[in-house]
Amino acid sequence: MSQNFRRDLNREFDAISGSPSPALSARVRAALAENRPARTGPFWMAGLAAGLIAAIVVGVLVVASFNRHQTGVLPAGAPTPSASPSSVTHSPSPTQTPADNLPAFVCAGPVSLAGTSSPTVAFVDAVRTGTHPGYDRVTIEFNNGEPANVDMSPHDGTTFTQGASGQQVTLQGSTGLLVIIHGSDEHTAYTGSTDIKTGYSMLLELRQVEDFEGTVQWGLGLSKSACYRAFYLTNPARLVIDIQNS
């Protein structure tokens, strides 16, 4: 061939590449001097160090993930929640949450929340649910501030009486939780479902059972009795109810 082919090809390659600048060698030497690799110890030391770093990283990620769940994982696009539990009164709690800024879970008795700087009527504009390691969550969002008061209490069975009509409705599950929001309405800004079936392990269904004369009530159907907690998040104002699922 092949000699001609090689000669012609190399001529083309020569035309493309030319010669390196005379300074290339000095340039590389200078770059090497500036980028001296760190001296390393035996490989077992490198392996040990890598293992320690990996353990630290995993630990940080686990803690960060856990804290993120505790402070409220809401649907994408929701602002980062800032917990501001306000005026919570409840029965003694056997379970303390790891996050210091969240109230403890309550396993019996009622829970009350008082809003801060509440408008006359706080308008519900969204109701969301989510399930997380350790708890199922209901988030009720208000578009103009926290309602004046919220009362929650365990409910025998899952049959609730609707506030305006007096009709009874039965939710999925074996026991319930009643949420009464005073100073609120759910027909001005809310267009979502008033009967939500979740399919979660603990929180099975929630249904609006009253929206009348400034009072909103939701009934929650649970698979069994469970500890719960409630608190407010701000920007926007949200009532968060967590029900332990494990």
Binding site: M1, S2, F5, R6, D8, L9, N10, E12, F13, A15, I16, S17, G18, S19, P20, S21, L24, S25, R27, V28, R29, A31, L32, A33, N35, R36, P37, R39, T40
Partner: protein
């Protein structure tokens, strides 16, 4: 004389592995010219080729402990780092933008002399950088087939096949026996 050189080289390698920059610079100095030519052909840009060689040198220096074998393996190992650096250079977004503009500009500038461009030159220009690579290694840098294979991280027969396929795009009547 030869035995003195052979005794000196392993010790330079040893010193380089232990962190002696001068020893490493001495080892790769003879490789800079072929590395540059490889990069220049892959990138079609002389300044970028020098940048790639410099960057590849630093990467090789940092990863010298990963080199398997002795100094005889250094050339193939280093050239493979250079080739990787060229690929990374081409992947960078600005590269495609700038080079596209350059190509258009060159076409306009060189338009009157197009007739002087040979068929081979046009064919080479049509090759992708990864098609040029085995041709550069084998024909231009005159590496033995085994070393081409090590640089490409493929078997000897696969290297031969790549050379043949790329060369066939330049000369259609090429036979496999001519690539040996």
């Amino acid at each position: 004389m030869m035995s003195a050189v052979m005794e000196q080289r392993p010790s330079a390698m040893q010193r380089a592995t232990e962190g002696d920059a001068d020893s490493f610079a001495m080892l790769i100095d003879p490789l800079l010219n072929p590395a540059y030519r490889l990069a220049a052909v892959m990138l079609s840009d002389r300044m970028a080729a020098e940048d790639a060689v410099q960057e590849a040198s630093v990467k090789a220096w940092r990863n010298l402990r990963q080199l398997r074998g002795d100094e005889s393996s250094l050339r193939a190992w280093f050239l493979s780092i250079v080739a990787n650096e060229c690929r990374m250079t081409r992947r960078r977004r600005w590269w495609s933008v700038v080079k596209s503009a350059d190509v258009e500009s060159n076409r306009r500038t060189d338009a009157p002399s197009q007739e002087a461009v040979t068929d081979l030159r046009r064919a080479v220009a049509r090759l992708s950088p990864d098609e040029r690579l085995p041709l550069v290694l084998y024909f231009y840098l005159d590496l033995p087939l085994d070393e081409v294979a090590r640089t490409l991280h493929v078997s000897r027969s696969a290297a031969k096949s790549r050379i043949y396929r790329a060369a066939r795009r330049l000369r259609s009547d090429l036979t496999l026996e001519e690539v040996s």
